[in-house]
Amino acid sequence: MREIQLTVNGRRRRLAVADDELLLDVLRREFGVTSAREGCGVGACGACTVLAGGKSVSSCLTRAARYDEAEITTADGLPDGDEVVEEFVAARAMQCGYCIPGFVLMAHELLEENPRPTDDDVTEHLEGNICRCGTYGEIRTAIKAAAARREAREGRKSA
């Protein structure tokens, strides 16, 4: 066991974790996170995606102990009115919905790195996430729309 500090969606807590405990299990058990889920246990489907310091992490693969002092964002912790969430809803980018939070966070990471992604940029960035219902077209539409909204907002801010 070791004591670590995690900040999850703005809530900071110190807690004891076993050396081999997975970040996914700690987030779900200790922080009540619902949006990160195990789909494959080997980091191949993206359903367990969370952001640590803004970077995507497969939380089903990684030990919580490695994330001492990290700032974690999960989809259920995004603020109301989040542009990516709103555009996913508007584009009907969900069917069964199980994998979608992972795509939402991948979209956040992409738009931070690359505010004006091309279709190819979106494809490259989302390649590691699986939507078995096949909602990829709607997801792409949502991300492009979110990028446009962000750009408009940034434009207003700088004007």
Partner: protein, 774 residues
Amino acid sequence: MSDGSRSSGGAAVGERWARTDGRAKVRGEFRYAAEEPVRPCLDVAVHRSTRPHAKIVSVDTSRALAAEGVVAVVTGADLFALLGDRLMTGPAFSDQPCLAVGKVRYVGEPVAAVLAHSVAQARYAAEEIQVEYDELDPVHDVDEAITGSAFVHDELRPSAVFGDLKHLRGKRDTNVNYEFNLRRGDPDAAQGTTVSAEFWAPPTHHVPIELPYAAAWPEGDRVELLATTQTPSYVRQSLADLLDLPLNRVRVRTAPLGGSFGAKMYDRLEPLVAALAWTQRKPVRITATREEAFLLTTRHGAAVSGSMTADEHGAITAATADVRYDTGAYADVGPRITAKSGMVATGPYKVDNVRVRSRCVYTNKPSAGPFRGFGVPQVTWSHESLVDELARERGEDPAEFRRRNLLREGDIAPVGTPMHSADFVGCLDAVTEAIGWSEPLPPAEGRFVRGRGVAVGIKAVLTPTISNATVQLNQDGSATVLISTVDMGQGSDTIMAQIAAEVLCLGEGQVRVIGADTDVTPYDTITAGSRSTYHTGNAVRLAAESMRDKLTALAAKHFDVEATDLKITGDGLVSAQSQATVSIPDLLLAHFGARGTTLTAEANFSTSWQPYDHETGQSPQVTEHWFAGAAAVQLTVDTATGRVHIEHLAVAGDVGRAINPAMVEQQLSGAAIMGIGHALFDQLVFDEGQIVNGTLLDYQLPSIKDMPDKLTPIVIESPHRTGPFGAKGVGETAIIPLAPAIANAVRDATGVRLTELPLTPERVLTAIIEQEQS
């Protein structure tokens, strides 16, 4: 049956209503079954067979029992001692124990279960169980299973439920558990141009991203269960049979599923947790790991030997198919798949001379069961490749050749049933037009070659089946629909809300569908086979119409007029004579004298059929309705690597009437993307009966990178005379013709005819090289 196309003037059907749960799904706040609170449960882990076919000599559980946190270890023999033959479950054959008894039949079969205080403790202890085996000859290959002398089961055990399987009871020395035959005319006498080939579609897996989960606990003299299942009504009956309990002492709850595609139906984890909870008197739960999920069910691998003959006028005069479905160690619903796909194995064509032999064959592999398409994509792989080759052999355009021969309204299908609301021609024309079929192909560059292909699919809806619905109208004018249909992403909760709202003139958000709970929601055969919109939709429509009649009667009393004077509108009940209007809230308040009251109405919708003849497969009414779909594709093939790149894929489905066009389009495109996987790379690989790619590191699924440059879903509407507002289902329609459409385009581009799926780069390249050399 009343006239389903009668509209009451609502504004719900045909609208693109949003999913009621969309935002919660996007934010990840939506709760799936494993996230529903249940009482503290012991965790279950399973010890699995390491042999494909062996007698169990002994099971040593002592080390597992001594392991930390272990409460109990239960073997198949323990359960058999308590439950006897009732331990054997299954939808068509009662052949599968939840823990092996006496014999194991595939690598990975559950042999013993550990109940412990944590998942880690249970899994550790499960590894400590020692099993001694006496190995038997395994049966790996579907054709060797038919001719060989090793048998997976000593005798056939058809379930008592199905009268038509009775003649198979006790049959010994065979691995063929069911055979369907279709005979019409004399295909051997047909003259003209004939093509024939051997086809293979490999086993695949559904891989819904939500893992299978089940929890069960004794509740006094009842057993309760919460599970990821598409078939709560079936599971209740199955568990009642297993535990010898009346139906009112078994409760099955489910939650919306994180995908399923056929994986989470019939008997999966449910008999195991129910048997453990009941016999050990403990609350238990299990979530399958991804590796275990691969073992719970698969899609049938299928071999098809097919032929097709056309006369000198280009009319298809004869077609044959010899189909062998590899159903693995347990029949599950394989015998039904064998029949349902056998009856359409020669395709959507008007053919007078037909011979189909479709067999369901046991092998020592994990059991194969239903998968989006129910066995039909495997036979479509054969008939749509053959019809394409036949057109080319005759020097004809493959689309035009199909068009001439396709079944039309009123034509008799080879199975003997007339066609209605199955617009194959409309689907074919729509997809070919979408991809510019008649325009010249853009020139190819360098090592790339370009081609176009098309395919058409046919499937009969599962018949007979039963749906029930209860509509509860609340005094405030909102409504609740009680059905046992499970929303697994297809959007049934929204579709059913739209149907009820249309009849009762309610608005978006005013109707909610509650989750299936057999204590509360009425019987529904299954949520599968694209049957819900038509069947449950009709039950919901009828229940809503009954509710409308009740409201009309109340309003007639209220206004002291004849019921015929009243009409339901968005504002409430209106008298034609006086134009007086009463809203639903005011009407119910006046009637009951209290707020918060409810008015209920219910309905049943059942379909019937005429069983097919056992010798000829013929039936004048084999199905309630047909699914018709088509796919057309333009693609390039890299002749240096064999890699296929899809430029444009168009898919069309005749849905009768789209209740929600946005959701219909999602079903069409989602099935198409799944079909791309089946066409190009998706397959379960076995070695000596063992799955070698049963993890998501090894098993390839379509990602965003596999999307065509352009994907066009097309909704065709030829209303069904008894569909709710003319509607039929759509979940499977687009996957059925997908793989042959792609293979036909590869043939067009390269000249190579591939008969084995998937069309991996290696396979395509090898075929190109062999063609160059010959």
